[in-house]
Symmetry: C2
Subunit: 380 residues, 2 copies
C-alpha cells in the first residue's frame, strides 16, 4: 500500500478544531491542489489574487491539515474556523459540503465538531432522558409504529393509533407522506389520533406518545404546531432535509416539542459511493445538531437498509460525548419485522426506538396482538 | 440494443399527469418489481397486505406507467396523483424522491409536471420580466458579480459593490458564505453595500440591483428581510436546499423580494451518476416551482462545471411553458471568466445572468475596467 503524506502533520489537530475529512477520486499529483481548492471553495470561494486583506487568509480560509493518497483516492482533512458557522446547524452543513457537493467525486467522510461549537449550535431539547420521561420508560428499548397508509379514513387511522397504544406501544408517528392542503383536515386527523391514544393510555395506564408529521413552509408548520399544542401533543416528526434544519429546530423549540427526524432525501447524500456525505455524519452528528431527539435511519435488514458497520457509526455519533449536548435515541427503520429484531436489538441496545410499520399493521392477529408480540421479542 | 417493454404502454400518459422517470441499476427480471416498489414507497410506504381501503389503491398509490430495461438499467415511469402534493413544492420534492433516495442506485431522471399542478404550486413572483423591470434592461444579457471574500472589511465589500454598479453591472449578489451571527453585523454590511450601489446608480444613472444573502431559521431570515426592506432592497439570495424550499419561497413572497436561488448542496443530488436527481429537474423545474426568479448553476467551463448538454436542459426547464408560471433567468456560474464567455453566451442567450466572481474582482485594471470589459464582450 502506497501512501503519500504531505502538508502539515495530523498531530497539529487540536481538540477545539472543526475538522472535515473528504475522500476524492484524483491522481496523487493533484491531491494537494484539490485539498487547497476545497479549503478555499468552502470558506471564501475566490481566487487568491482577489484577496486584499490579510485577515481573510489568517482567519477565514480553511487550512489543509493533511493529504494522503492511496490507489487513486485522496483523503483530505481540512480545519475550518468554527466561528464561520455563526452557531447555526444549516451553516455548518453548508460550510462542510455546500459548494464542494458540485465537485466531481468528493465525499465528506468524517466530521469532528469541537465541544465549544456543538454547545454554541445546541442540540436536542429532550434527548434520551427527555423521551424516557415523556414515554415513562426507564431502561427498556422502545417500540414505535407509523400511522398509515395515506388515503385511509381518519377514523381508521385513529384506530391504528388507539390499538397500538392500548397494547403498550411507546411511540406512534405519522408517516412522512401524511400531509394535507387544509389545516382543517390536518386538525381532524391529528385530533382523532391523539384522542384515540389518550383514551387508550387512560384506560390501560399507558404512556404512548404521538409524533404527528409537520411540513410545508414555516407558516404552515407554525399553524400545525399551534393545533398540536392545543391538543396537548408533546412531540412532532419533521424531515429536516426538506423543511430546512434551522427552521424545524427553531419551531420545535418555540413550541416545546420533542423532535423526531425523518431521513427523507438523505439517500441522495449517503447512498452514492464517491459523492455526498457519510451516513453517520449526516444522520448522526448533523441531525443531532439539528435538534432531533430521535433519529430515524435505515437499519440493516428489511426494505431500506444500511450495513451494520454504517449504522453502528450512526449510533455512536448520536450518543457519543459531544460538548454538553444531549444524546439521541437511534431509530432503525425501513421495512423492519419480527424476523429482523434479533439482528437489530444487539446492534442498538436499549436506548433505541425500534420502528415497525407495515409488518405490525398487517399482522393477521391484529395490531394489539402484533404489538404485544414485538414488545415480548424486545424484552425477552 | 435489447429493450424489454412491459406494463402499460406509454401512450397512456395524459397531459394532466405528474410523471416521474427513474433509472435504476437492476436485472431485467427485477425491473417490474422495483417499479411497483417505488410506486408504493413514494406514496403510501406500506405493504399491500396492510391496505384496508380501496380508495388508497384507487387514488393514492403511484401507478407504474412503463418499464423498459437495457443493459442492466431499468427506466421506470410512474404517474403520481397531483393531489398528493397539496400545492407545496417541498411535498413535490419529497413525493418524487424523498424515500426512494434511500434505495440503492435509483436516480430521478425526468419529471413532467402538469400545468394545473404547476399553477397550484405557483412559481416565481418576478420571473424574467420582473427582473428586467428591476434592472431596467430590455433584451440584453445581464452581468452579475459576487460580493466577497468573507472576512473583508464591510467598507471594502461596499467598494466592490459601488465600483461594479458604477461601471454598469446589472446584478450584485452576496457570496452564499456571507453570514453573520448578529443582526447588527448583517445590517452594517448590507446597508453599506446597498448605499454604495444607490450612490453609484444615482451618479451614473444605472440600475444595479443588490441581492443580499439571507439564511438561518425562518425567524433569522425574517429579521434579515425586515432589515432589507427598511433599506429599500428589492431582492435576496437564498440556498433553497438549505433553508427549505417552501420557507424561502414564502418569505420572499411575504416581503415582496425577487429571489435568486443558489445551488449549494445540489451536487449531492446531481453529480452522482446512479443516484440523485437530474440537474435540469432539480435546478430547472423544482427551483422554478420553489419561486426563484434567477437560478444559479454550474455553467460549462471554469471551476464548477456541468456539460452543455445538461445546462441546455436546465435552461429549457427554466424557460419552457409550464402552466402559467413565469419563466426564470438562467445564471451559469462557477469560476467563469472572460475566456469562458464566448462559449457561454451562445448557450444561454440574452435571458441569462452571467455571474463572474473572482476573475472580475481580481482584474489587474480594477473592478470598473473589468466590468466594462465584460459588458463589452457580452454585447459585441
Amino acid at each position: 500500500m502506497h501512501t503519500q503524506k504531505s502538508t502539515a502533520p495530523e498531530n497539529n489537530i487540536q481538540q477545539n478544531q472543526l475538522i472535515a475529512s473528504y475522500q476524492a477520486s484524483c491522481d496523487a499529483n493533484n491531491a494537494d491542489q484539490l485539498a487547497t481548492a476545497i479549503a478555499w471553495e468552502q470558506t471564501v470561494e475566490i481566487i487568491p489574487e482577489a484577496v486584499r486583506h490579510q485577515r481573510v487568509l489568517d482567519e477565514f480560509v480553511g487550512r489543509v491539515v493533511s493529504v494522503t493518497h492511496n490507489k487513486g483516492v485522496a483523503t483530505i482533512k481540512i480545519a475550518y474556523n468554527p466561528a464561520l458557522v455563526c452557531g447555526r446547524v444549516s451553516a455548518l452543513f453548508n460550510l462542510v459540503y455546500g459548494n464542494v457537493s458540485m465537485y466531481p467525486d468528493v465525499r465528506l467522510v468524517d466530521l469532528q465538531v469541537p465541544a465549544g461549537l456543538a454547545d454554541e449550535i445546541g442540540g436536542p431539547a429532550f434527548g434520551i432522558e427527555g423521551i424516557r420521561q415523556l414515554t415513562q420508560t426507564r431502561r427498556q428499548p422502545l417500540l414505535a409504529t407509523a400511522i398509515k397508509p395515506r388515503g385511509t379514513p381518519h377514523s381508521a387511522l385513529a384506530d391504528i393509533a388507539g390499538q397500538f397504544a392500548s397494547a403498550g406501544g411507546h411511540i406512534i408517528k405519522d408517516d412522512q407522506n401524511l400531509i394535507e392542503t387544509d389545516l382543517i383536515d390536518f386538525t381532524d386527523r391529528v385530533s382523532r389520533c391523539q384522542q384515540a391514544i389518550i383514551n387508550a393510555n387512560q384506560s390501560r395506564g399507558n404512556h404512548c406518545v404521538y409524533f404527528p408529521h409537520i411540513s410545508g413552509s414555516h407558516e404552515e408548520m407554525s399553524e400545525q404546531l399551534e393545533v398540536c399544542k392545543s391538543l396537548d401533543i408533546k412531540a412532532v416528526l419533521t424531515c429536516p432535509l426538506i423543511t430546512g434544519m434551522d427552521t424545524s429546530k427553531a419551531l420545535c423549540r418555540e413550541y416545546g416539542m420533542a423532535h423526531m427526524g425523518h431521513p427523507a432525501m438523505s439517500g441522495a447524500f449517503t447512498h452514492a459511493r464517491q459523492q455526498g456525505i457519510d451516513a453517520s455524519v449526516l444522520l448522526g452528528t448533523i441531525y443531532r445538531l439539528a435538534g432531533v431527539d430521535i433519529s430515524i435511519f435505515p437499519g440493516s435488514g428489511g426494505r431500506l437498509s444500511l450495513a451494520p458497520s454504517i449504522t453502528g457509526k450512526i449510533r455512536h455519533r448520536l450518543q457519543q460525548k459531544l460538548g454538553s449536548i444531549r444524546p439521541v435515541l437511534t431509530c432503525p427503520a425501513g421495512g423492519k419485522s419480527l424476523q429482523t429484531m434479533p439482528e437489530l436489538i444487539p446492534q442498538f441496545g436499549n436506548d433505541a426506538v425500534y420502528l415497525v410499520g407495515g409488518a405490525l399493521l398487517a399482522h393477521p392477529g391484529g395490531i394489539e396482538t402484533a404489538t404485544a408480540e414485538y414488545l415480548k421479542a424486545m424484552n425477552p
